[in-house]
């Protein structure tokens, strides 16, 4: 996919540190470096997959980009405009441009609202559409995501998990955004339903030139839907490249470990696995130097002291490892 002049989203040096408070006076005793100097860009009609295990900070990246949580440092450019420090009111028009689809289709929809009102609410809040037009627009959205017009008056509990996620997609689309952040949008769905929602997202991207930041722990889904992929480990991007390179010539030892660990649905390929040992360290106390050195089979002395920088080792292939 050709990189356009101005990416839809450009994130530079994004950091989010959560204070850890303890004791009666709630004094700050330390910080969780949930996101630690993360940079990436997403072009028009492009999908960037953001993968990593629980606690790696991928969800925090998504929330910080939307300014649902305030970044500690860094800049967020939406179509070239810096939105990092805009106040609530000034941010409103930009909010329309970027929407989110959540993981859990059960808890992310208000159970007391009718499905049609849930989908129409962003239009109501952002004004400028009359009530009648709104209803027509919602009906069109329902049909676009594969729901029936007649279902607009139903409540969330009357829908299945897959249908609820379609409602979430329709709500995200209602303001004609340029960028949609999907935070594990298919992880809670059954296998046979996952394909329906993945296909829907990919069709919408083609039709509407949408850009996606697709956050997931599922490597198979990310491989299918993404153009480029960034791998996160304990708050940092450790490898970032196009998907063909990542899956065929991974360079970071953590990416290697992830690919070796993912179960392949083909009994003909029973690989002799090199299973990476140990647990993900606590993000409260990440290891010094390269965060991965405690589990890395190749770690050397300097990996334990010196944090590796994300370098471009080949055109478009970024890796943060001293040894590669």
């Amino acid at each position: 996919m050709a990189e356009p002049a101005v990416p839809v989203l450009q994130v530079d040096g994004l950091k989010k540190h959560f204070p850890v408070r303890k004791g009666l006076l709630r004094r700050t005793v330390g910080h969780v470096y949930a996101v630690d100097d993360v940079s990436f860009a997403i072009g028009v009609g492009e999908t960037l997959g953001l993968v990593g295990e629980s606690g790696c900070g991928k969800t925090t990246v998504g929330r910080a980009v939307l300014r649902l949580i305030e970044p500690t440092a860094g800049t967020i450019l939406l179509e070239g405009r810096d939105i990092t420090t805009l106040g609530k009111r000034a941010l409103r028009p930009y909010r329309q441009q970027m929407q989110i689809i959540f993981q859990d289709p059960f808890s992310s929809l208000n159970p007391r609202m009718r499905a049609g009102d849930i989908v129409g609410e962003p239009m109501k809040l952002h004004g400028n559409v009359s009530r009648g037009d709104r209803r027509d627009h919602v009906a069109a959205l329902f049909e676009r995501v594969g729901l029936r017009r007649a279902q607009m008056d139903n409540y969330p509990h009357q829908f299945s998990g897959g249908q609820r996620q379609r409602i979430g997609v329709a709500r995200a689309l209602s303001l004609n955004p340029r960028l949609i952040i999907g935070d594990e949008p298919v992880s809670a769905l059954d296998v046979s339903i996952q394909a329906q929602v993945i296909n829907l997202l990919m069709d919408l991207q083609r039709e509407l030139k949408l850009s996606y930041l697709f956050i997931s722990h599922n490597l198979a889904v990310v491989e299918h839907i993404s153009h480029r992929i960034a791998v996160m480990y304990l708050g940092r991007i450790v490898e970032h490249t196009d998907k063909a390179t990542l899956f065929t010539r991974p360079l970071h030892p953590y990416t290697e470990a992830l690919l070796a660990a993912v179960p392949v649905p083909d009994p003909k390929i029973r690989r002799t696995k090199r299973v990476v040992q140990g647990d993900v360290p606590s993000p409260l106390k990440p290891p010094p130097g390269c965060h991965f050195h405690t589990r890395c089979p190749y770690a050397e002395a300097r990996c334990k002291t010196e944090p590796p920088l994300l370098r471009e080792v080949a055109p478009g292939h970024h890796v943060a490892c001293h040894l590669r």
């Binding site: 059954d190 046979s192 198979a220 070796a260 649905p265």
Partner: protein
């Protein structure tokens, strides 16, 4: 002469099968109606074998597991028919006290969510030791020593320290190791693992699956692995049962099932998941996943005939009229479908 050989063979077959489930039926009596969660499931499990039961939510795979353990909540659930023979003893006919002496001793279970299935106010050591005190009459001190050994076996570092800790002090992967340690404490004949790695990260999942395989080799435990993840099935199971709407729709060895699925639902599952084509060295990536249209039917309102018919491309009047017989379509390969012949060998990739 031939007859005695035949009888001997039958006897050997029986001694090689540790668990035999016949026509198991577990129903739930709810306000919305009768739910046949498990509707006549039969299968057997060889000694030391790994059998996977695959299906989506609501297919009855977890209720099958709970029925084998006789842990179905009553009311609303009840095992209304069938038999579950563990080395020839029908567990469904036992009184509660005898069942308690077998559960956790000869047949035990690992659950999906280690945090909610461990007791949060009991140390790890006491929880593992509990079954040893109950089933093997060990003293508390001896049970604790044995718990330390088992924790070592499942790869928990510093087990002497860990036995004094509570579940919240362990990571998710460590908790699942502790659960496995607990399940294996009495060296059971059968271990049922219900989505044992679904709540874990992939690198931890790989560690746990490797651990289960290693323990199985060392202890000779037979494993029933319940999962929705076809990747996990392909990498760990020897035989596979596919369930849909409370019934078995297909059964085969893992190689046979993936090479030539004979039920449209199995085939649909396989073509609807992204299959990591790039990583497997395939040049042409799948452009579009094949969807299974519609959704899993509500068990209160199953269609007459084949439950999968409303979602099936092959469905015709025969499918909608009558449930297809469960039959051996190829050697050691069973399926319940009127149209298996159209599917034979038809999967791509």
């Amino acid at each position: 002469m031939a007859l005695t050989a035949h009888i001997e063979e039958q006897a050997r077959d029986a001694s090689e099968r540790v668990l035999e489930v016949d026509n198991l039926q577990t129903y739930f009596y709810t306000r919305t109606g009768l739910i046949r969660a498990v509707d006549g499931i039969s299968f057997s499990l060889g000694r030391g074998e790994t059998l996977a039961i695959v299906g989506e939510s609501g297919c009855g795979k977890s209720v099958t597991a709970l029925s084998l353990m006789r842990l179905v909540a009553d009311p609303p659930g009840r095992i209304v028919g069938g038999s579950v023979k563990l080395d020839g003893v029908d567990l469904l006919g036992l009184d509660a006290a005898t069942m308690r002496s077998i559960r956790g001793n000869q047949i035990s279970m690992v659950f999906q969510e280690p945090m909610t299935s461990l007791n949060p106010v009991m140390t790890i050591g006491r929880q593992i030791g509990e079954s040893l005190v109950l089933h093997q009459n060990l003293s508390r001190a001896a049970a604790l020593e044995r718990a330390i050994e088992i924790l070592q076996l499942v790869g928990i570092p510093e087990p002497r320290q860990r036995v004094k800790e509570y579940p919240h002090q362990l990571s998710g992967g460590m908790r699942q190791r502790a659960m496995i340690a607990m399940a294996l404490a009495c060296n059971p004949k059968v271990l049922i693992a219900d989505e044992p790695t679904s709540a874990l990260d992939v690198t931890i999942q790989a560690q746990i699956l490797e651990l289960v395989a290693k323990l199985q080799r060392e202890l000779g435990t037979a494993v029933i692995l319940i999962t929705h993840d076809l990747g996990v099935v392909a990498e760990t199971a020897e035989r596979v049962i596919v369930m849909y709407a409370g019934r078995k729709v297909e059964e085969a060895t893992v190689g046979e099932l993936f090479a030539a699925p004979l039920h449209p639902y199995t085939r649909g599952l396989m073509t609807s998941i992204p299959r990591l084509a790039l990583m497997r060295g395939e040049t042409k990536a799948v452009e579009r996943l094949q969807e299974i249209p519609g959704m899993v039917p509500a068990l209160t309102n199953l269609p007459p005939g084949c439950a999968f018919a409303p979602r099936c491309a092959f469905a015709d009047d025969a499918c909608r009229a009558q449930y297809p017989p469960y039959a051996e379509k190829r050697p050691q390969h069973w399926a319940a479908c009127w149209h298996s012949d159209k599917l034979a060998g038809a999967i791509d990739g």
